[in-house]
Subunit: 355 residues, 2 copies
Amino acid sequence: MIHAKQLRSFTEQIFQAIGCSEADAQLAADVLVSADLRGVDSHGVARLAGYVRLYDHGRLNPTPAISIVHETPSTAVVDGDRGLGLVVGPWAMRVAIEKARVAGTGWVAVRNSNHFGIAGYHALLAAEHDMIGQAMTHAAPLVAPTFSLDKLLGTNPIAVAIPAATEPTFLADFASTAVAYGKLEILQRKGQDIPLGWAQDANGNPTTDANAVKNGGALLPLGSDREHGSHKGYGLGAIVDIFSGVLSGANYGPWVPPFATAGFMQANEGVGSGTGHFFGAMRIDAFRPANDFKQHMDTWIQRFRSAKSIEGQQVLVPGDPERMLEADRLKNGIPVHETVIKTLEELGERFAVKL
Amino acid sequence: MIHAKQLRSFTEQIFQAIGCSEADAQLAADVLVSADLRGVDSHGVARLAGYVRLYDHGRLNPTPAISIVHETPSTAVVDGDRGLGLVVGPWAMRVAIEKARVAGTGWVAVRNSNHFGIAGYHALLAAEHDMIGQAMTHAAPLVAPTFSLDKLLGTNPIAVAIPAATEPTFLADFASTAVAYGKLEILQRKGQDIPLGWAQDANGNPTTDANAVKNGGALLPLGSDREHGSHKGYGLGAIVDIFSGVLSGANYGPWVPPFATAGFMQANEGVGSGTGHFFGAMRIDAFRPANDFKQHMDTWIQRFRSAKSIEGQQVLVPGDPERMLEADRLKNGIPVHETVIKTLEELGERFAVKL
């Protein structure tokens, strides 16, 4: 168990060691550790070594000049200047929030960024201001559209944060696939099979092989197969890709750069600039008085949470499971996996930072 | 086979017979018949008798004074005055489009409306203006959230229309459930089983009974079960419900009124006004030059459509299947089911309109 504070401090020092400013390093560490706190371990400090690899390969600019390249009263396009997505994301979200203050809503498409951590972190930034926050990002292609053998989409998550009055903020934050790739990796390590409906093999057949994606197969869109609506998961992933990539001028589809592998295509091989994201902020009182809205959100949340449930189960509201974990981990510390600890120790040695 | 033109003319006359203006009747008929043309038969003229029933029960105002009740540069709340959703929808979408012209984007939440037909029709209205169109609506509760026995959400569809240059407009238009209820009805009529993953029985168990939803069961969210991501489909349906209902001041969750059954709750039993929708229009050149964007959309579409496919299958782009059907049905007529023909003939007799 490692305390969040320690993990944050270590992460911050590593980001500073590769040249990030103190403020950027603090922010980036906060985004990463918030994933560990919420139980999205795959998007937390487990990725720290990956960001350093991005830096090593010249794909990460630790001192980016993030800028607005185009704007209207309610929109902007932001160029991340190859900065940390963990820093570019909150920067762009602030622009969306400022736009929303004046125009009612703000919508920001980002290009030339890279992995931004958990989408929910960014969406929540707007909720603090009595706004509905939205965040989405595309990612390297691991997912086959319905009937495709080619991997053309990432797990392309969407997060929507909606404030309530006395109830905690509603936070839906989910990939547009049946599962995240991290769930396959866990079963790979255990040498176990995956359920049918998570992945297909190299011939497009349903498979229980946890290594299928590594061996020419693909993750499946939410819905798993055509009969259960995989074309809907594919549609959702496609929308995220187009908003994040085509609208911003980033890459898109199969051209989205991988997170942190060495074989990154050169800019001239792609169809745009780096990785893209899309953010939105809607001021609640641009629609109705914020207090009215938030009281109705309380009613909504209470009604759903008190639904009659299947025996032995509980009906949750989006955001509940992560919030429960966060409360526990803030108190009792974060169980960081030993393989992750090892990568952190290696980073610590390299940059002379103590864990 | 009935020609679209005949079907539109008949439908228009029925709407006029219950008191709609000529322009409203034309528009409403166009929305309904466009569903039949695109193969979404459940949302086409099959519903005409339902709209008349709404009228008979005093839930439909044929001459609504649709109005903007609140607005900012990029947002509005529209009160549909219990008008046809088929008319209120395009009215609200026009507001979104006008907002987008000035502010870059426009977002309109609608209350006090009713069923608006296919979401895709409304989203496409923006695409004609080089804007990305979005339309969503909630509906009467048929869907159980993950682990719930209570039905708290509708099939809550989302449509997103994105224009391209030489390729046809990308149009994703899908319910947030594994399947539409209409698919169960088809198998009910045939006396056949449904696949596991579409519905649960009254105890929350997976079922193959096509009558399960009628007998205390529920439709399942996209993802079907927790292991395959049903909490994501539930999250998506919840977002649609909150945007359509809570943001607009309509009803929400289990309080969304049923489409056309007699037992409609009185206003004071609900938590808001009628049914709600949510629309968005984003001007493409609020982000980047429209021609650049649309050429990249061509590249996107061509890359996805040319993906290597599973043997005997074809990788489609969202909107392709409906467009193919539309081309065929415009040419060869619409195969209207005999039970639907019967309801149309009854309407024809009642209002002295010839089919």
